[in-house]
């Protein structure tokens, strides 16, 4: 009976293992191999072993460094703002008397929009001559801004779009957390004379802490992967102002250049960072308990 179950279980899990192993393990090993070689599809020839050459080249590559910078800017600016706005909106909506369910559904819409479509919508909004954004600003006496032509505004633009699309996610998670919080806790604190700020600070925030951690890490990883919106709205430009690290890998390895070796090295660096963050996420999620393993 036990053996029988074991065999069945392995049969059931086999398709998943086959798909994932064939599509991740071999490609990954291949990528590690390539990262130690000089191999450029555009130039042809066979891979030539150069040791850590590709990795060392990253430090001398001005574009790679500036793409790390922009990715860091994204993380440092967009992430805290998304968390703050998401929390703020969650608390605001919880205190509304009517229409809260309806309004919640509406706020969630941006994160359901495919990134490519979001890119189109915002590209229209950012348009220099005819865009509604410049129109709204002109009502306040602000002259037309070249959203996609000026490096700083292009960077700001990408941040705004990310805020627009993913603040709802932060909101949704924290709002669900607030909703499922035992009402007695808050009641008890109120009865004891706690101010509403004290309730948030000493009752709600500590209970929400694991959820906040979860969202924070998921968003952080997503920001490191940011690609679609940049491709659609700025093409990484003007110049290289909005090259995120992911976009730069794409550019080096898969579009303007076909430098497989160098792009592999860049990808491995990104992977190491992401794997580290994923492990952090596991801790926060309390994986073992979550999956009852």
């Amino acid at each position: 009976m036990y053996l029988h179950s074991r065999v069945s279980a392995i049969i059931l899990i086999l398709p998943l293992v086959l798909v994932l192993a064939s599509l991740t393990i071999y490609p990954f090993l291949n990528m590690v191999y390539m990262s130690f070689h000089n191999y450029d599809l555009a130039k042809g020839g066979d891979p030539k072993f150069i040791g850590l050459g590709n990795y060392l080249a990253i430090f001398k590559d001005r574009l790679a460094i500036s793409s790390v910078e922009f990715t860091a800017i994204l993380v440092v600016i967009a992430l805290p703002l998304e968390m703050l706005f998401g929390m703020g909106i969650a608390w605001l909506f919880r205190n509304l008397i009517v229409g809260e369910r309806f309004m919640r559904s509406l706020v969630l819409l941006p994160m359901m929009v495919p990134a490519v479509v979001a890119g189109i919508a915002w590209k229209m909004l950012f348009n220099y001559n005819f865009g509604p954004l410049n129109y709204f600003l002109s009502l306040f006496g602000i002259s037309n801004i070249s959203w996609l032509g000026d490096p700083n505004f292009a960077r700001l633009g990408i941040i705004i779009v990310d805020l627009w699309q993913w603040t709802p996610f932060v909101f949704l998670v924290l709002y669900s957390g607030l909703q499922s919080m035992p009402a007695e806790l808050v009641e008890a604190a109120r009865v004891d004379g706690a101010s509403s700020w004290a309730v948030i600070r000493y009752v709600e925030l500590p209970i929400l802490a694991p959820l906040i951690g979860t969202v924070l890490i998921i968003r952080l990883i997503d920001l490191l992967k940011l690609f679609d919106i940049i491709y659609m709205i700025t093409w990484g430009g003007p110049g290289s102002a909005t090259h995120s690290f992911s976009y730069y890998i794409y550019k080096v390895g898969l579009s303007y250049g076909w430098d497989v070796g160098y792009a592999s090295a860049l990808s491995i660096v990104l992977l190491i960072v992401v794997v580290f963050l994923v492990n952090l996420l596991m801790r926060v999620l309390r994986l073992r308990a979550l999956l009852e393993l």
Binding site: T24, P27, N95, L109, P114, A121, G131, L211, L290
Partner: protein, 278 residues
């Protein structure tokens, strides 16, 4: 804060989140004379279906004619549907093995979730190399496989949390009565977790339907390219045909929005890896 101020603030927030979607929606129905106006036409008076029919805006962006959307739509439907079914079946089978028999334990679960979080750009390059060696590039099949890499782990993951919610006594009783684990899986677990299966299939569909980077890298023409790539192609010209572009964007967006609203409860479970049950 008074209720009035709260509602005022809430309205401003809603305006920010909804305006871009509203703008896409109205642009899709605007005739070509109204695409480029100052001040922009915020509330259109003339509406037309022409943007959807490819009858409007042939003179903009140097396009002789608007590229036909049908093959891209077909590819998207095929790829997303097959991905959704395959990832649900594979995920359900694996999730049952993990939930009831603890196959692979914590490390296997760890591996699955790591794959889900991988940056697509890091898998795009090696997948491109493999599939070009196998001469499989630019096929729907390859895109389905590539999409399964990130949908199947998530499906498995979410279904583990669903299966764990089903009392173990139910299938254990069947096992004691002499049913095989496979029988218990098909006749007890699957019927009981229908909402979970639907949720997981929908999530996989949504992800595949909107996926951009892998489709961009692994496909090269209308034989296999999906709607997001079709949209990406439009954006290149100097003067872009906003109307048809917005119309195509709307076609890409509407199924996803409908599905997500239906599955709102489960969406959050999927997005937080089960940390929030929703």
């Amino acid at each position: 804060m008074t209720q009035f101020l709260k509602y005022l603030l809430a309205s401003l927030i809603l305006f920010f989140f909804l305006f871009p979607i509203y703008w896409l929606l109205i642009t899709a129905f605007k005739p070509s004379e109204e695409w480029f106006n100052w001040p922009p036409i915020l509330i259109p008076t003339t509406l037309t279906w022409n943007n959807f029919l490819g009858l409007e805006g042939g003179f903009y962006g140097g396009m002789a004619s608007v590229v036909n959307i049908t093959p891209y739509l077909r590819n998207s439907v095929v790829v997303a549907t097959v991905t959704a079914f395959a990832s649900t079946i594979i995920g359900a089978a694996a999730a049952y093995a993990i939930s009831r028999f603890k196959v692979g334990g914590i490390h296997f679960a760890n591996w699955i979730i790591s794959i889900r979080m991988l940056p697509p750009v890091a898998s795009a390059l090696p997948l491109y190399l493999i599939f070009s060696q196998l001469r499989l590039l630019n096929t729907q099949f390859v895109l389905i496989l590539a999409h399964l890499v990130f949908t199947a782990p998530l499906s498995t993951w979410i279904l583990i949390t669903f299966f764990n919610d089903i009392p173990k006594e139910l299938d254990e009783a069947a096992l004691v009565d002499g049913a095989s684990p496979l029988n218990a899986f098909f006749h007890i677990i699957l019927p009981l977790s229908a909402p979970g299966l639907a949720a997981v299939a929908t999530l996989a569909f949504i992800q595949s339907w909107g996926e951009f980077l892998l489709a961009l890298v692994l496909t090269s023409n209308a034989d296999a390219q999906t709607l997001p790539i079709y949209l990406g192609r439009y954006i290149t010209g100097f003067r872009i045909a906003w109307g048809p572009l917005a119309a195509a964007g709307l076609i890409n967006m509407v199924p996803v929005i409908l599905f997500s609203l239906l599955m709102q409860r489960y969406l959050i479970r999927g997005l937080t890896f089960g940390a929030v049950k929703g």
